[in-house]
């Protein structure tokens, strides 16, 4: 069967649905979202659910600040009948060695200059914020009260339902398998697994951890790779931790959600590239060892579930946003390097503006794919 659309988006995660919603709001008529499984089943629903303004590059700071301000009003904007569960308990980012502390001072100065209310805090003050924090080895920390937790499933649902009410067609369990181009090399159609075709002149790759595979369908090698990150959640306990606790030295993050459970994860520098989303026993021991050293009171809290998801990494840990010059009509919102969820409200707006040829809310020309050919990479230093 053949049909036609103005824009087809591959990927029903938070970014795909946010882009769809923002296109519909701006008057784009026929938008289709293709999701091969269920909404948020790729990286969105597997993420740590943390959002922060505290980044180390100007671009990430600008994107994250704008995004969190949008999250603050998202229940109302999307007329959501649920709650995205935004808890702004802040992020407390810990420094354990001198070079890190130096970097954090630079980060806070940068953040301040961009209107982000972060600040340096002493170990004693960190202890006041998180009473069960062990101060061993701690030099200092940074804190931003705007950062926190948001429910990724509910956020995606809110975007998808708001988009659907505005006429967007959201097709779950529908896999794109090929992308066709016309004689000029422009995107012309998408072929689905069941053989159906959708004619379109604009295609958006919001494929998250599988974005490089979507790229290959269009004949483009995208400079991204995927890597597994593991995570666990505990039983709910009485509220005892306001801020997310994050340590780049340990590669660890740990936050108590509004539900009462703790979500924590650990970056593994030896994780091979690939699409494995299996879980390992050694992760449990590693994360437990580190988190109970840092916060001994958590020894008594029980783990109920572990899982894994994929980061879609770029060489500079900043996303690639925009049209691919070799394939007109082929847009990407990929390579979020572990922070795609928290940037989604802004990504949705920016991609919609680009596709519709509107003046962009902010200048993100440095995030197009051409930066890799030009060698203009500014590496984000603050990634777990």
């Amino acid at each position: 069967m053949k049909s036609a659309a103005d824009v087809v988006i591959i990927g029903g995660g938070v970014n795909g649905t946010a882009i769809a919603y923002n296109l519909a709001v701006r008057g784009c008529r026929k938008v289709v979202v293709l999701e091969r499984h269920t909404l948020a089943s790729g990286s969105t629903g597997r993420c740590g659910a943390g959002v922060r303004m505290q980044w180390g590059t100007e671009m990430n700071c600008r994107l994250a600040r704008d995004s969190i301000l949008r999250f603050e009003g998202l229940n109302d904007e999307l007329e959501y009948d649920g709650d995205i569960e935004f808890k702004q308990g802040g992020y407390l980012i810990l420094a354990y060695h001198a070079r890190q502390w130096e970097q954090f001072q630079k980060n806070v100065a940068l953040q301040e200059s961009l209107g982000i209310p972060s600040r340096l805090v002493s170990p004693a003050e960190a202890r006041k914020m998180v009473p069960h924090l062990d101060l061993g080895g701690l030099i200092g920390a940074t804190y931003c009260p705007k950062d926190g937790h948001i429910n990724p499933f509910k956020t995606t649902q809110a975007y998808a339902e708001a988009a659907a009410r505005r006429g967007v067609e959201i097709r779950k369990f529908t896999e794109a398998v090929a992308i066709g181009k016309d004689a000029s090399g422009r995107v012309s159609r998408v072929v689905l697994a069941n053989g159906d075709e959708i004619e379109t002149r604009v295609l958006v790759n919001a494929g998250g951890p599988y974005s490089q595979l979507v790229g290959r369908m269009a004949g483009v090698e995208l400079p991204v790779h995927s890597e597994r990150h593991q995570i666990l959640v505990t039983e709910p306990v009485a509220p005892k931790q306001g801020p997310m606790v994050l340590s780049f030295a340990h590669g660890l993050y740990c936050q108590q959600t509004p539900h009462g459970s703790f979500i924590m994860g650990l970056g593994d520098p030896h994780e091979p590239r690939g699409f494995d989303i299996g879980h390992s026993w050694s992760f449990l021991e590693d994360v437990a060892d580190k988190v109970t050293t840092m916060m001994p009171a958590l020894k008594e809290v029980r783990v109920v579930r572990q899982w894994a998801g994929l980061y879609n990494m770029t060489p500079d840990a900043q996303p690639i946003l925009g049209e691919i010059p070799d394939v007109p009509g082929f847009y990407v919102a990929i390579g979020f390097s572990g922070h795609g969820f928290m940037l989604a409200p802004t990504t949705g707006v920016l991609l919609a503006e680009m596709i519709l040829g509107q003046k962009p809310t902010m200048d993100i020309s440095m995030l197009t794919i051409e930066r890799f050919a030009r060698g203009e990479l500014i590496r984000e230093p603050s990634v777990v």
């Binding site: 499933f153 039983e235 437990a288």
Partner: protein, 102 residues
């Protein structure tokens, strides 16, 4: 009748206090797989990991869609089978490394 004249509710997931009415509302909205229902309602995300509610949710989906339980994809079973204290995993690590008796 429940408190203050509210309608009685049937709890389907005891760990997360989810009612069958909430599940039916999600199914009506088009969320008709155990995965979607679990992730949106927390049904089956609690201490017992869905031991009781998993089958009840399947029955609800089946009743609403006419599909048979065996044709409905289950959500992934994730470890641990029973809740385990973080301190216990930390001790296991220390024992592998020897000596440290934290």
């Amino acid at each position: 009748m429940g408190p203050e004249g509210s309608k009685p509710k049937t709890v389907i997931c005891r760990c997360e206090d989810v009612t069958v009415e909430e599940i039916r509302k999600l199914i009506e909205k088009g969320y008709q797989t155990p995965d979607e229902i679990k992730r949106l309602s927390r049904c089956g995300m609690g201490q017992c990991q869905g031991r009781t509610c998993r089958n009840l949710v399947l029955q609800e989906i089946g009743a609403a869609t006419g599909r048979e339980g065996k044709d409905i994809p289950m959500s992934t079973f994730r470890p641990p089978t029973k809740p385990v204290k973080l301190g216990l995993y930390a001790r296991a690590r220390a024992e592998h490394e020897g000596g440290d008796d934290r």
